[in-house]
Every structure is written in structure tokens, then in C-alpha cells.
């Protein structure tokens, strides 16, 4: 259980129940679980915020999640809560001169991160743009489906959570269910999220997705290596998004995110921004990088470039 230590927990004022209450007064009902539901549902309802859980509480929560998941999918799974690594701030690079829009990354991400197959949730969206128009989202197309890519006159731009240093989403959350971790990953406590979707409205990148219905994931395709803040199956009514594959990357040694490994053209780069020899710093130094919607000053840690 040594790896199941909790994440960072700066002193935050977690006023979720207050917010829930004021919402409830507005609507006129308090959404408590029905009295006949199981003990684990009650336990989940009264669980503290992830960053306020004591070590023992956390162990119990992880064990409960593992058990629920095992019951539901009939497979043994591990839910860890590996904390950030010291001296690490993650950064990501994407070479738009190489990307051919093949969507291998999209589907690798779905499989790795236990995204719902129905209704469908994709954390990565690839937009097709026109070479003569440049990065102009008025001419963006998500649903392109030619027999082969790349297509004449087009280029492709994959978008996912940009892991901002000054995110609009975390500030929009009324209950602080989403925050920036010390390694730069923007995390969500799915058990604390109240599903108001303010964060989705605030995110300028469309990086967040909502669970309208119970996720459908074939048990045989479930990835059993799970992180509390990452790819464990999400409950209905909460928001989810890319976590830089927290269950893979926050390890010693940590694997590359699934999208990086799936990319056939090698357009996707990942590493530690604090490592001067790492590939991310190399590309920041040697390529002309840019971020999406720079004017909003969200300070993404997701850098795009056109390698020559």
C-alpha cells in the first residue's frame, strides 16, 4: 500500500456542502441518496474532499472503490493515489507538421482511460483545418472520415485538456472539486464534483466532458491499473478530462502517456519541464512553440509547434 499515499493538500476552504445547500434551497430538494441504497453509496456521499482525507480514510476510500469496481466488472483492479513526484512539472508538445489526423491517439486514450463507449466520451478531439486559413476554428471539422489521411490542403490539430497553470475551469468550480496539482496536472475529485458544469463553460478549449449517463465500458476492455484522480470509472453526473495519464506518468519510472506511444508519426512529446535535457525543454529551446488562445493568459503546459 506504500504507493497509495495521498496527493498534495494545501489548506483549502472546501465549502462543498455549503454550496450544495444553497443550490438545494434554490431548487427546493436536497439530493440525498434514497434510504434503501447500499452502504458504499452512503460512504461515498459522506466522503471528504480528496485533499482532506487522512491517510487511513484514503486507504479505506481506495479499498472501497476497488471493491465496487470489482463487483461491477468482475475483474480485480488497483486504484492508487500516487502523489506527485518531486521536482517534476509535466509539459507536452505536439508537432503539427507531423500530425496526419489518423486518430490513433483518440482511441488509445479511450482504452487507457476507461472512457465511456456509450454514450461516447473522447478526451482528445482532432480538428481538421485548412492550410490556407491557418489556425482558424471557424473552418474546423471534427467528423472528417476520408479513406486516407492526410488530405490535400488540410492539416490537423488535436485538442485535449491543456493543463493550464492559470486555468479558467478551476476558478469556476464553486466547490473546489478541481485544482492544479504540484506537478501541473489539473485534477478532478470525481467524488466531490457536484456536476454543475461551470468548469465546462469556463474552459476555452472544450477539454472537459460530462457523464450524462452511466458509462458503458466492456469488462474485457477495462484498464485495471487505475488512479483515483485519473482513469477509474467515473460516476454519472461528474466531469472528466485528460490527466496526462496520471496512472502511467506519475511513477518512478513513469511511462509515457498512451497517446504519445500510439502516435505513428511521432508528433506527440512528453516530459518534465524542469529537466533541461528532457525533450520538452529541447523543443521549447529549438522550436517556435505556441499555445492555443494565448490572449486568455491561461498559461497552458501544452505546446504546439511546426517542426521544420
Amino acid at each position: 500500500m506504500a504507493d497509495k499515499r495521498r496527493s498534495s493538500r494545501p489548506g483549502v476552504n472546501l465549502a462543498r456542502r455549503k454550496a450544495l445547500k444553497s443550490l438545494a434551497t434554490g431548487i427546493g430538494v436536497m439530493a440525498l441518496p434514497a434510504p434503501q441504497v447500499s452502504a458504499s453509496v452512503w460512504a461515498a456521499f459522506f466522503q471528504k474532499h480528496f485533499r482532506e482525507l487522512s491517510r487511513d480514510d484514503l486507504e479505506r476510500v481506495l479499498a472501497r472503490l476497488e471493491k465496487t469496481c470489482q463487483e461491477e466488472y468482475g475483474r480485480s483492479v488497483t486504484v492508487k493515489a500516487t502523489p506527485p513526484l518531486d521536482g517534476v512539472r509535466f509539459g507536452y508538445g505536439l508537432d503539427l507538421s507531423r500530425c496526419i489526423g489518423c486518430r490513433r491517439c483518440v482511441h488509445a486514450c479511450v482504452a487507457e482511460n476507461n472512457q465511456s463507449r456509450h454514450p461516447q466520451i473522447h478526451w482528445i478531439r482532432v480538428v481538421r483545418l485548412q492550410k490556407d486559413k491557418g489556425i482558424d476554428f471557424d473552418h474546423a471539422e471534427h467528423y472528417y472520415d476520408p479513406p486516407q489521411v492526410p488530405e490535400e490542403g488540410h492539416f490537423y490539430l488535436p485538442v485535449q485538456c491543456q493543463q493550464c497553470d492559470r486555468p479558467a475551469c478551476t476558478r469556476a468550480c464553486p466547490v473546489q472539486a478541481t485544482w492544479v496539482e504540484p506537478d501541473g496536472i489539473v485534477a478532478i475529485d470525481y467524488n466531490w464534483c457536484i456536476g454543475c458544469r461551470y468548469c465546462m463553460a469556463a474552459c476555452p478549449y472544450g477539454g472537459r466532458h460530462f457523464n450524462w449517463e452511466k458509462a458503458v465500458i466492456p469488462a474485457g476492455e477495462l484498464n485495471p491499473d487505475m488512479h483515483y484522480l485519473g482513469n477509474r470509472p467515473r460516476p454519472v453526473g461528474v466531469v472528466e478530462k485528460c490527466t496526462f495519464c496520471i496512472q502511467r506518468t506519475r511513477e518512478q519510472p513513469g511511462r509515457y502517456p498512451a497517446c504519445v506511444e500510439a502516435c505513428p508519426v511521432g508528433a506527440r512529446k512528453f516530459g518534465n519541464l524542469l529537466d533541461p535535457k528532457g525533450e520538452i525543454r529541447q523543443l521549447l529551446e529549438h522550436q517556435r512553440v505556441f499555445v492555443l488562445k494565448q490572449e486568455l493568459n491561461t498559461q497552458p503546459k501544452f505546446f504546439y509547434f511546426f517542426a521544420t
Partner: protein, 181 residues
């Protein structure tokens, strides 16, 4: 499996001295730690070339064939190889060693194992080679803070026809039926 066989073949031939230029072979030796935190440079390895079945060692045939330096249409063998590299300026023996067909050839005349073909490419594509070495061009897999594997240039570019080949895209997202995404 095939790749491994070829690697072993190369090794038994003694041409795969892949430890040169600071890279070690793909498989760590038995008992060796996969991750050495004391080392500032993590072990990196290059996946071996993916040659066709039964083509290697080339010397199986070429030991008996006198090298023919003439630029010509190949009829008896290798007829499927169509050179579409550098607008027809290159010929086979600019890259393949005439006397030792199991190796490649650098402009200096030095012979080079297939496992180090990136040095051949780097003679003319120096900037790409540097970008590949720093992780900007090409692909790394494995661990971002530990062992990693690189693909050879030939893992993505056919040296005889190097333009990256188009792919069939995977399915697009479903169009939202209601307010879902």
C-alpha cells in the same frame, strides 16, 4: 518475433556492435536493472530493423555474386525496389556496402551495421538526426523518466521510398444526438 530473430542473427554475425555511439541494444542483459537512477542518462535502446523474412544475411546470396557497380534495372532479384529518394540521384551502392552486403556504407567508405542506419541518413539529413537524438523527430516509447526505446528512421521511412505513407483514419466521434459531448 521476426525482429528478434534478425537481431540475434546480426549479433551472431558480429556486425551488430550496437553499443557504438552511446546506444545499447534493445534487450537489457539478464539480471541488469532496467532503471538506474544513479545514471543521469537513462538507458535508451533502438528497436532493430524490421527486414523482410529470409533476406538477411544478404551474404547468403551475395557471397557468391560479384558486385555490379552499374546503375541498372535489377531483373534477377530486388525488382520490387523502386528508388524514389532524392529524385533518383541515389543508387544502391551509395548506401549499401559493395564488398560486405550485410552492412551499409557511409560516404567515408566505412561500413555500418543495419542497426545504426540513422548514421547513414544523418549524413544528408543532419538536422533531422539531431532532432531525432533530442527526441523532437521520431518517436520514443517506454518511460519518460527511465528506459526508452527509439524507432530507427527506417521504422517510419522506407529508405528506398522515404515519404511517410498515408494511413486509414480511425473512426470519427459520433455526432451528438442530444446535448452530449
Amino acid at each position: 518475433m521476426r525482429r528478434r530473430t534478425i537481431l540475434i542473427l546480426l549479433m551472431t554475425l558480429g556486425t551488430a556492435d550496437a553499443a557504438g555511439s552511446g546506444v545499447s541494444s534493445l534487450a537489457p542483459a539478464a539480471g541488469e536493472s532496467r532503471f538506474d537512477q544513479s545514471s543521469p542518462l537513462y538507458r535508451s535502446a533502438i528497436a532493430p530493423p524490421d527486414l523482410s523474412e529470409d533476406i538477411f544475411p544478404c551474404s547468403n546470396c551475395h557471397a557468391e555474386i560479384k558486385p555490379d557497380l552499374r546503375r541498372r534495372e535489377l531483373r534477377d532479384e530486388h525488382g520490387a525496389i523502386a528508388l524514389r529518394h532524392a529524385a533518383g540521384q541515389l543508387w544502391c551502392l551509395d548506401c549499401h556496402h559493395a564488398e560486405n552486403r550485410d552492412t551499409l556504407r557511409l560516404a567515408t567508405g566505412e561500413s555500418l551495421p543495419f542497426t545504426e542506419s540513422y548514421r547513414l541518413c544523418g549524413q544528408c539529413h543532419g538536422e533531422k538526426l539531431r532532432d531525432w537524438q533530442s527526441g523532437i523527430h521520431g518517436r520514443r516509447t517506454g518511460h519518460w523518466n527511465g528506459d526508452k526505446q527509439y524507432l530507427l528512421c527506417t521504422g517510419c521511412h522506407n529508405p528506398h521510398d522515404p515519404q511517410f505513407k498515408p494511413l486509414t483514419p480511425m473512426p470519427p466521434p459520433e455526432r451528438p444526438g442530444r446535448a452530449v459531448h
